[in-house]
Symmetry: C2
Subunit: 328 residues, 2 copies
């Protein structure tokens, strides 16, 4: 904010975002810092998430408003993983010179759509020119009475997952192969839904011991829960709920690899105390039309063991997945 | 964190940072999000600050630990501007492929030096490859019982500034001209001191109506206070405390332009109720060997008017400064 035009450019972007007002925000963006008033017994929950052009997205694949939307959705998903409610976000944006004011306003518009969907305020951020690709860094700030970490899974817990997996990765695989993705896959990639309200329902209805959002794919994220909790996970590959666009693939093994190896689904993977999932499943189905599916069990040990439909130990289906990934 | 090696790389970087423990942090980095417990009457204060290679720094000018230190110092300075104490930071880092593990550890080491100096925790962040330049985004979270905004200046207030200005800009000007900077200027650029404790003393000892940190230079930042407060500022150019390396320049007008046009001093500019500055000045001198200098007055109106040593209205001395700047 060296000078007047820069200040006006930032003001215009804040207006293009059009973020909702949130009661905790005593002072919004525009000063040296934002001021929040959070009282009561809740803890604060904070996380940051980078979106780098050429790594997390390509401008040939997405409109600019989808790029903005996804960056915020991915960051908010970390709050969902903690069963936290969002308060607001800070968005830092480094942009190459060829991005004109109209493009930036479109990006800001996509950020705003996601913020309004999830009632999160814009708390601040930074804006800089860059000689390189577009880089978005979104920091989310939320609150939770009882945040859920990855580390609380114990042997005997049941492993459940929300939604259906692999839609976003199927879109990335199609684009990478020079194809136009199925519209439902494209939508999964462009407009991921951080499961914020759903996590709250899960927390209320079941006994959640550990939870993670599927940003890197079920195979990798299950490993994270196992490592953080000091337990093993046993996953039945036949139980994994696969996205509709992958259901009739000629090679079910490739479909499964995409479903569990592909990231950016932003569904939730949770370790629940045995027998506590059914009410949550019923409420998620009724209130959000969202599946809750059991995919495995927590055991003593370490790492993740995969079993095939016929009950045999198998290699993790995601091995060799990386070449489909938008990060490849 | 797709896989094991990535996870270990992040763990190694967190260890290389070696951030201090802070009592508010209930859960540190490594989960989906960090958890803070902030009780009592304080408000939270949050801000983000980007450091982009080629815009804010050049790797030819600085060691990697200085690059890390400066990025955190610049971000913490926004907390100083609000008279907030730091709790912790989130650091997101996008790096090109040629940066090896040793370089990243050096960068992390510099981040850690700054965090330990100011007792701020590492709360999280993100790490991504990038096809472009190094981008650091540092989000700071602090707390303040009575945060100070830019917007509270009223006519009659006195305008005061901490420290001596232009050291960092003198270094950047030297580098840009192919010269080696004076060691004191280099140090001002490499190791800026966010005035966190000093802001607290100022807040305690004087009646602070508005405050900003000098990240963009006194000329531009005075405009920000004027605009946010809906007042005018009158600055006496002869009163501006100039950094020692600029004191004996053959062209005092160029030295003044660097002192008030150059950014990254991270000193504080404050509007104080008349007659309330003297105890603060005495304490800052005694406790921190830091000057507090009156440079002007708040008046009715808008914008910033500059007066020369002979009492005549003059052009803002920073005009035409940009070509010295590291951002040029």
């Amino acid at each position: 904010m060296r000078d007047g035009p820069e200040f006006r450019r930032i003001r215009a972007l804040i207006e293009a975002v059009g973020a909702p007002e949130v009661p905790e925000v005593a002072l919004g963006p525009g000063d040296d810092a934002a001021v929040l008033r959070v009282s009561g017994p809740e803890s604060l929950v904070v996380s940051s998430d980078l979106s780098v052009e050429g790594i997390h997205f390509r401008r040939e694949w997405l409109t600019w408003d989808a790029i903005g939307f996804r960056a915020v959705a991915a960051a908010l998903s970390d709050l969902a993983a903690m069963a936290a409610r969002p308060i607001g976000v800070l968005v830092s944006l480094a942009t190459p010179p060829e991005l004109d004011a109209r493009t930036l306003a479109e990006l800001a518009g996509g950020i705003g759509i996601c913020l309004r969907e999830h009632e999160a305020a814009l708390l601040g951020g930074d804006l800089s020119r860059s000689p390189g690709p577009v880089v978005l860094d979104v920091t989310v700030i939320g609150a939770a009475a009882r945040p859920v970490a990855r580390s609380g899974a114990v042997p005997g817990d049941e492993v459940w997952v929300t939604g259906r997996l692999g839609g976003a990765a199927a879109a990335a695989a199609a684009w990478s192969g020079g194809l136009e993705p199925h519209p439902a896959a494209r939508r999964a990639f462009e407009r991921p839904s951080p499961r914020l309200l759903e996590a709250h329902v899960l927390r209320e209805s079941a006994e959640v011991h550990a939870m993670i959002d599927l940003s890197d794919g079920l195979a990798a994220d299950a490993e994270q829960i196992a490592a953080a909790s000091g337990v093993g996970l046993v996953i039945e590959s036949g139980a994994v709920p696969v996205h509709e666009v992958l259901e009739n693939w000629a090679r079910p093994d490739a479909a499964l690899a995409i479903a569990v190896g592909g990231g950016e689904d932003y569904e939730l993977l949770a370790a629940l105390a045995p027998g506590t999932a059914l009410e949550a499943a019923s409420r998620l189905s009724r209130e959000f039309e969202l599946d809750l599916t059991r995919v495995g069990t927590v055991v003593e040990g370490a790492g993740v063991a995969w079993f095939s439909g016929t009950g045999e130990l198998m290699d993790p289906p995601a091995s060799g997945f990386d070449h489909f990934s938008p990060e490849a």
